[in-house]
C-alpha cells in the first residue's frame, strides 16, 4: 500500500492517480483510494481507467461501517451515531471520522490481497494528525473496542513493511523545508519512514543563450529594445526559478532521499502523463 501525502495544491491527487495508472500498466491492476466525493480522482484518472479500481471512501459510510461491529448491529450503530448528543459531538470531534476512514482503508487492503492500494491522503497538517490517531487513541482510550481498532490499525496498516509513504512537494525552498519537517515528524510520530519524495512541477532549465540574446537585443537602440528588456526579465525570472529549484533539491540529495522529479506543465497533466514521467524517472 502506498500513502500519498503533501500539502494542499501540490498535485497529490494527480500523482496518486499516476502511481495507480503505472501499477495497472505494470502488473495489470491497482486501486486508487480517494476520500471525499471522488470527483478529483475520477477526473485525474480520465483515460487511464484500465485496470484501475477507483475506491471512494465517504466519512459517514465509513463511520457507519466501522461502528457496526462495535455496537453489534447496523441498526444499533445507526441509533448510536444518530443520538441527539452524539451527532454534534461527532461533528466537533474530528478524530472519530478519521479513525473510521483509516479503518476503512485497512479493510479495503485486507479485502484485496495482492493488489497495491494507492491512497490519496488529505493535505499535510491533516494527514499527520490522521496517522497519529491510532497511537494517540491507544494512549487516550486505555481499553474498549475503539482501543482495539487503534491497535489493529497500528499493527496491520501503519506498520513498516506494510505501507510505503510518498510525499509530494514542490521545488521551492520553503515548501521543501516544510516537507523535510514533515518527513522527520512522520518518522518520529508514526515510526514510518518516508520512502520517496516526489518533486512536482520542476521547471525546465531553458537554453541560457536566449537570455544572453535578449539582453543583447535590449541594449540595441530601436523599437524592440523595450520589448527585449521585458523578455529578458521574464527569462531571468524563469532561470532564477529553475536555479532555485535545483538548489532547493540539494539538501534532499545530501540526506540521501530517493527522489522522483516531474516537470512543470502549464495545464493539468493526466494520470497517463504522470505514469509516463514516473517511468522515465525509473519507477516502479
Amino acid at each position: 500500500m502506498v500513502l500519498v501525502l503533501g500539502k494542499g495544491g501540490v498535485g497529490k491527487t494527480t500523482v496518486a492517480a499516476g502511481l495507480a495508472a503505472l501499477d495497472a500498466e505494470t502488473v495489470g491492476m491497482s486501486t486508487l483510494v480517494e476520500m471525499g466525493d471522488g470527483i478529483a480522482g475520477r477526473r485525474a484518472l480520465a483515460g487511464a481507467r484500465k485496470g484501475v479500481e477507483h475506491l471512494v471512501l465517504q466519512p459517514d459510510e465509513c463511520l457507519q461501517r466501522g461502528a457496526t461491529p462495535i455496537f453489534g448491529s447496523a441498526v444499533l450503530a445507526k441509533l448510536a451515531l444518530g443520538n441527539f448528543a452524539m451527532k454534534p459531538l461527532l461533528r466537533a470531534a474530528p478524530a472519530i471520522r478519521e479513525l473510521a476512514m483509516l479503518d476503512a482503508v485497512r479493510r479495503a487492503a485486507t479485502e484485496r490481497p495482492g493488489v497495491r492500494l494507492v491512497v490519496d491522503m488529505p493535505a499535510t497538517g491533516h494527514s499527520v494528525a490522521w496517522l497519529r490517531i491510532p497511537k494517540q487513541g491507544r494512549a487516550l482510550l486505555g481499553e474498549g473496542p475503539l482501543f482495539d481498532m487503534c491497535e489493529q490499525l497500528s499493527r496491520e496498516l501503519l506498520a513498516p513493511g506494510r505501507v510505503s509513504l510518498v510525499v509530494v512537494t514542490l521545488p521551492e525552498p520553503l515548501v521543501l523545508e516544510e516537507t523535510l519537517e514533515l518527513c522527520a515528524q512522520l518518522t518520529a510520530e508514526t515510526g514510518l519512514p518516508v520512502d520517496r519524495i516526489l518533486v512536482n512541477r520542476v521547471p525546465s532549465a531553458e537554453d541560457p543563450a536566449a537570455l544572453v540574446d535578449a539582453r543583447a537585443l535590449a541594449e540595441k537602440p530601436g523599437p524592440l529594445a523595450e520589448h527585449a528588456k521585458t523578455l529578458a526579465s521574464v527569462l531571468a525570472a524563469r532561470q532564477a526559478a529553475a536555479a532555485a529549484a535545483a538548489d532547493a533539491l540539494a539538501p534532499l540529495s545530501r540526506e540521501g532521499r530517493a527522489l522522483w522529479r516531474l516537470p512543470l506543465c502549464p495545464v493539468d497533466p493526466s494520470a497517463r502523463d504522470v505514469a509516463r514521467w514516473l517511468r522515465a524517472e525509473g519507477a516502479p
Binding site: G8, G9, V10, G11, I39, R43, A67, I70, F71, G72, L76, L79, A80, N83, F84, A85, P88, L89, A92, A93, P94, A95, A123, G125, R132, A139, L140, L141, G142, E143, G144, P145, L146, F147, E172, P173, L174, E206, D207, A209, A210, D213, A214, P223, L224, E226, H227, T230, L231, S233, V234, L235, A236, A237, R238, A240, A241, P266, V267, D268
Partner: protein
C-alpha cells in the same frame, strides 16, 4: 444561537473581503495584492492570512505573530498592515484569553487529553482564534478594509458559522448528557434506567454501549472538556460575537479565487454553493493565470525578422504555454459562467516573475481596475 444572528453594525467597522478558493490557485498572493493596491490608494488595510505561507510572510517582511505588523511596501505610507498568526500557538493563546481569571479550570483543561489532541488536530480552531485577533484589530477603528485569506480548503468558509455552532453545542443538551454519561459509565449495568420502562431501558442500553465503545477515559475527558468550556460559555459567545458580526454583516463580501485547472473550478463551484447556504452570494470570481491574449512584447518580438534561434525558441515556448493556459481558462470561463451565472468573473494574467514580492506588486496593479467590483457594496 439568537445572539449570533444579530449582526449589529458598529461605527468604525471596516469593510471585510473574504477570499476563498482551493489550494495552489494563488489565493494568498492575490489577497495580498488586493490589500496592497487598496493601501496604495490611501485606504488603511489589514491583510489577514489564516493559513500563513511563510514565503509570502518573509517576502513581505512580516513575522508570523499574533500581533498586527506594518508591512513596509513602497507607496503604502504605512497604511498596509498584516496579521499572520502562527497556527501552532494560537489555541493556547485563545484558551488563556477564555480562562482569564480562572487558573484552576485552565490547568484542568490543559491536562485534559482530549483537549491536548484537539489543540494540534482540530480544524477550525485556528480560524476561530485568528478571527478573534481580527475582531480585536478591527475594534481599534484603525482599518478601513480587512482582507481575509482563508485556508485552502473547501471547508474554509465554514468557520464563519463555527462560533455559533460551538456556542450552541456548549449550551445544549450534549454537555448535560455527556456529564451524565461520564458519571454513569463506571456502573456495570444501567439498572436505574431499566425501571423506567422499555424506552428508558433502550436509552440506557445505548448509552452503555456508547460508553463501552469509547472506553472509560474518552468519555470522562470529553465530558470534562465540555464542562470546563461550558463554564466560560458566556465569555466565549462574547468573544466570538464580534467576529461573527464582521463576517456575516452587510459590510462583508466574499471573493472566490480560482486558476484554470479543473480542481480549482470544482472547488469554487463547491464554495459558491456553500456560500449560498449561508445566504451570501460571491461578490466576484478571480481567475489567476488566465491571460486572454499574447503579451505585447511577445507579439512585437515575433514579428521581427532577425531573431536568434534561441530567442525564437524561447518565444515559442512562452507562447505555447500561454496558449495552453488560455485554452484551459476559456473552457473554465464557459463552465463557470454557466454554473455561477450571477457571479462576475475577472481574469487576471499569469505573472512571469520569481520573487514573491514582485508577483504581489504586479498583481496589485492588475487588480486596481477591479477594486470597486471586489469590495462590499
Amino acid at each position: 444561537m439568537t445572539a449570533q444572528r444579530v449582526h449589529t453594525r458598529r461605527a468604525g467597522d471596516p469593510l471585510v473581503v473574504v477570499c476563498a478558493g482551493g489550494g495552489g490557485v494563488g489565493k494568498t498572493t492575490t489577497s495580498a495584492a488586493l490589500a496592497l493596491g487598496l493601501a496604495r490608494q490611501g485606504r488603511s488595510t489589514l491583510i489577514v492570512t489564516i493559513d500563513p505561507a511563510r514565503r509570502l510572510a518573509s517576502a513581505m517582511g512580516v513575522a508570523l505573530s499574533d500581533a498586527v505588523t506594518t508591512v513596509p511596501f513602497a507607496g503604502t505610507n504605512g497604511r498596509l498592515a498584516a496579521l499572520m498568526p502562527d497556527p501552532r500557538r494560537s489555541m493556547h493563546a485563545f484558551v488563556d484569553q477564555l480562562f482569564e481569571g480562572e487558573p484552576a479550570a485552565r490547568e484542568r483543561l490543559r491536562d485534559n487529553r482530549v483537549y491536548q489532541g484537539l489543540a494540534d488536530a482540530a480544524a477550525g480552531v485556528h480560524e476561530l482564534v485568528a478571527l478573534n485577533l481580527v475582531a480585536a484589530a478591527a475594534s481599534t477603528g484603525s482599518f478601513e478594509v480587512v482582507v481575509i485569506d482563508t485556508a485552502p480548503s473547501r471547508q474554509a468558509i465554514d468557520f464563519v458559522t463555527l462560533p455559533g455552532r460551538l456556542a450552541a453545542l456548549l449550551g445544549g443538551k450534549t454537555v448535560a448528557w455527556l456529564s451524565g454519561l461520564a458519571t454513569r459509565s463506571g456502573e456495570k449495568d444501567s439498572t436505574q434506567a431499566r425501571s423506567g420502562g422499555l424506552l428508558a431501558w433502550g436509552k440506557g442500553h445505548l448509552e452503555h454501549l456508547i460508553a463501552r465503545a469509547a472506553g472509560p477515559y474518552l468519555v470522562r475527558d470529553t465530558a470534562g472538556l465540555f464542562i470546563e468550556l461550558a463554564l466560560v460559555r458566556e465569555r466565549f459567545v462574547h468573544l466570538t460575537e464580534r467576529a461573527s458580526a464582521l463576517l456575516l454583516g452587510d459590510r462583508a463580501a466574499y471573493v472566490l479565487v480560482a486558476a484554470p485547472t479543473a480542481a480549482a473550478r470544482d472547488d469554487v463551484i463547491f464554495l459558491a454553493k456553500r456560500l449560498e447556504k449561508l445566504g451570501r452570494a460571491p461578490r466576484a470570481l478571480l481567475m489567476n493565470r488566465a491571460d486572454t491574449r499574447p503579451a505585447p512584447y511577445v507579439t512585437a518580438l515575433r514579428s521581427s525578422a532577425n531573431l536568434s534561434p534561441a530567442l525564437s525558441d524561447a518565444l515559442d515556448v512562452l507562447d505555447e504555454e500561454r496558449k495552453a493556459r488560455g485554452d484551459s481558462a476559456a473552457a473554465m470561463t464557459r463552465d463557470l459562467s454557466r454554473q455561477l451565472p450571477s457571479c462576475p468573473l475577472i481574469r487576471l494574467p499569469f505573472v512571469e516573475a520569481y520573487a514573491a514580492a514582485d508577483v504581489v506588486h504586479a498583481l496589485s496593479l492588475e487588480l486596481e481596475a477591479h477594486h470597486r467590483a471586489l469590495l462590499p457594496q
